[in-house]
């Protein structure tokens, strides 16, 4: 019985609702029209005002190099959205430079300050290394030494060759970067890199919550993203500010020299002394890691001669601790 009544009630209810809706609709149309009309009139007046020349003329250089002249009144600062700006400038780099790094193995005592600075700048886990210091021993009778190993920023990078989507790319000023908004997570680049320089975000990155409102900066690779690659960037964000990379500045022992091959000058991160890049390599027999692979690294090493510190095996200590 009840069920029979129900449809009728519904019908009634619907009628009411409909008339209520109609009323609201009509009112809102009128109100909306009034507001829009007022706004149009106001805008029109304002537009007429704005047509008045201020008298001051400005010369501006357009993006294509053309010189333009406009009234000063019309000039407003153009804004690329930050997200696009970061990607655009990050992919273009800093024209006119060729960044290089020189690592003096004689000075490294495995203090691991470079690693700490890097991991905190890039929001990494303790086992995720953009730069790692390895304890090397080539053969039975050769002496062991500590070797900081960042990405070698190869001029012929195997990782870039194999990337299927142009997520990792080589910049004109030297660094090899990774765009984690493009990366599909195939990890072909990890397989291809002979220096084991690349790291994958196997899980949600440690600071995902804190970073979720940040705009992605490809030169810092923050926020990190689950399921994508992260790697050493030569601190491209610091280079843009005219500063030395995080690891270079953090070293207490003067291991790192960083600079511009075009200027033939490198600066020590600890002493801030600047020397000629070519002299530094020449006087200290600088070399590259595995140049026989044809990768053309941008990181150079000075051999561990006349070491400042005795070698302690960091791995054994780690195992004990």
């Amino acid at each position: 019985m009840e069920e029979k009544h129900k449809p009728q009630e519904d019908h009634h209810e619907q009628d009411k609702k409909q008339s209520r809706r109609k009323f609201i609709r009509d009112v809102s149309i009128i109100a909306g029209g009034a507001v829009a009309g007022g706004a149009a009139m106001y805008a029109g007046m304002h537009y007429e005002d704005s047509k008045l020349p201020s008298g001051e003329r400005l010369k501006l250089l357009a993006a294509d190099g053309k010189l333009l002249e406009v009234d000063a009144h019309h000039v407003a600062e153009a804004h690329l959205p930050e997200s696009e700006l970061f990607i655009e400038q990050g992919r273009e780099g800093l024209p006119g430079h060729k960044w290089v790094m020189v690592v003096d193995l004689a000075k490294c005592r495995n203090a691991r300050k470079c690693i700490d600075a890097c991991q905190s700048a890039h929001h990494l886990r303790p086992e995720q290394y953009h730069i790692n210091t390895l304890q090397m021993k080539e053969s039975k009778n050769t002496a062991p030494y500590n070797m900081p190993k960042p990405c070698q920023h190869c001029d012929n990078p195997p990782c870039v060759s194999v990337c299927p989507v142009d997520a990792t790319f080589k910049r004109g000023d030297g660094p090899v970067l990774i765009d984690n908004e493009r990366c599909i997570g195939c990890r072909f680049c990890i397989a291809a890199c002979p220096y084991s320089a690349r790291v994958f975000q196997w899980f949600e990155p440690p600071m995902a919550d804190e970073d979720k409102d940040l705009t992605y900066n490809v030169e810092l690779n923050v926020p990190q993203k689950k399921g994508t690659i992260t790697k050493c960037l030569f601190s491209a964000d610091r280079l843009r500010e005219g500063k030395l990379p995080y690891c270079v500045s953090a070293c207490p022992n003067g291991v790192y020299w960083f600079g511009d091959e075009m200027e033939d000058a490198v600066t020590n991160g600890t002493t801030k002394e600047t020397v000629k890049f070519s002299d530094l390599l020449e006087q200290n027999a600088g070399y590259q890691l595995m140049p026989e692979l044809g990768t053309k690294p941008r990181v150079y090493y000075l051999p561990p001669k006349n070491r400042l510190f005795p070698f302690e095996d960091g791995n054994q200590e780690e195992q004990k601790g």
Binding site: D166, C183, N315
Partner: protein, 437 residues
């Protein structure tokens, strides 16, 4: 003559019906598949880290499985195209089985590779931002092409059978309708035969370079890197010859079960097993030859990286898997199949199952150990980074891919006759003509 004609058709269409056993089998496969897909949903939520892969061994079971699937799919090309084009008549009842296996493995290979992606939702980027320099793009292109050609090679010779089937089959109704539509008004006129023969010939020739390309390019995913153990110039032919071994094992297993379950002893005879055994020995010998090259030459020189790699797989912690793969995947089958008793169906089934497992493990041995010893030492990382240990979740996801292959094979072999009917009819006709000259 009319009699043997009908006999063939009714024999071969007999299995095309749904019975209890089939429903139970499909039910089992489906339930198992959903269980395994649950594992994938965990991976999607938590990240690829639920698998045992880490920063050094970053390609594990999924990639090994992908290589295995691409390898197994090559059998379609070997059976139909290579043997067919040189005029081997005995393969005729086996071509459709080989083609179904090829299609199933090739199609699922594409899904396997997606399960290895950190960001599967970005798959379209391959087309939007694809870089032709990357071997992954080549692989995507040729695998897709291979799936398409394999599907056509399965479908075209099926058309005359569909026309026969729509007359013979009475139920289920929907299947008769499917036959009706798919048989595209086939009446068997000489013009129609001409079209089928010509297009088949074109496809059979076309599929040879495409099949070679899919596995060669797959091998280049490794050989195009400077890593020890992958940095090899013979990886292409090494992979292709190994693929034939794995594929023949799959076909032998399928032959055995179809013959027994579908009562096809008259069509898949001991002669077929004997011939498949000989074919298996031939491709195994070729594969053995490439193995000798792949391991003996670097083993003689013992460059530092090669020495570490070879020590690991010959006597190190990967040795048990390596020797299992080499012995059961190549050497033991070659020796045993010299004996006639071993070329009978049942011993062949046992051997084929062993080869199938060994072939899978061989892909694992090709993919994993190389990454466990990179050029620079692995230090200051958790011990789980040093040696790859597959997890339960990635094992389940890998099993899902096999279940999917089994489902595809089961469905196709239930919907359509697994042996080409018109070809068998032709043979029966020839036999009768020969019988009464």
């Amino acid at each position: 003559m009319q009699n043997s004609y009908d006999q063939v058709a009714s024999d071969l269409f007999r299995p095309v019906r749904v019975n209890k056993g089939h429903i139970i089998w499909m039910g089992f496969l489906t339930v198992a598949l959903f269980l395994c897909l649950y594992a994938y949903s965990i991976q999607l939520r938590t990240g690829l880290g639920v698998a045992g892969i880490r920063d050094y061994v970053s390609w594990g079971m999924y990639i090994a499985n992908f290589v295995f699937f691409v390898a197994s799919s090559l059998i379609g090309m070997l059976m139909s195209a290579v043997l067919g084009l040189i005029g081997m008549k005995w393969i005729r009842p086996l071509t459709r089985i080989a083609e179904i296996i090829a299609l199933a493995f090739a199609a699922v290979a594409g899904l396997v590779i997606i399960s290895d992606m950190g960001r599967p939702e970005r798959l379209p980027y391959l087309f939007l931002h694809g870089r032709i320099q990357s071997p992954i793009l080549w692989d995507v292109t040729v695998v897709t092409t291979y799936v398409l050609i394999s599907a056509l090679l399965l479908y075209l010779p099926l058309i005359p059978d569909l026309a026969i089937g729509k007359k013979i089959l009475t139920k289920p109704k929907f299947l008769v309708k499917v036959y009706e539509i798919l048989s595209v008004k086939w009446r068997g006129t000489s013009a129609q035969w001409e079209i089928i023969h010509r297009s088949m010939r074109i496809l059979l020739i076309l599929i040879i370079p495409v099949a070679l390309a899919i596995h060669t390019v797959t091998s280049w995913l490794f050989a195009s890197t400077p890593r020890v153990g992958w940095n090899s110039t013979i990886f292409g032919p090494y992979f292709v010859s190994g693929a034939f071994v794995a594929g023949i094992a799959s076909v032998i297993i399928a032959m055995y079960f179809f013959r027994k379950n579908y009562k096809l002893e008259k069509y898949i005879t001991e002669m077929h097993f004997d011939n498949m055994a000989r074919l298996l020995v031939l491709v195994s010998l070729v594969y053995l030859y490439f193995n000798i090259n792949e391991f003996l030459v670097p083993g003689y020189k013992l460059e530092q990286g090669d020495a570490i790699h070879l020590q690991d797989i010959f006597v190190g912690h990967n040795a048990a898997l390596f020797w299992f793969a080499q012995l059961f995947g190549i050497i033991i089958p070659i020796v045993l199949l010299l004996f006639k008793q071993m070329r009978k169906p049942f011993p062949m089934l046992i051997l084929a199952i062993l080869i199938f497992f060994a072939s899978w493990i061989k892909r694992y041995i090709i993919v994993v150990p190389t990454q466990e010893h990179p050029f620079l030492p692995i230090q200051h990382v958790p011990s789980s980074f040093l040696i790859y240990k597959p997890t339960l979740i990635e094992t389940a996801i890998t099993i899902a891919s096999f279940l999917l292959v089994l489902i595809i094979i089961t469905v196709l072999s239930k919907l359509f006759p697994v042996i080409p009917v018109w070809e068998m009819q032709e043979e029966a006709e020839l036999k009768e003509k020969g019988g009464q000259p």
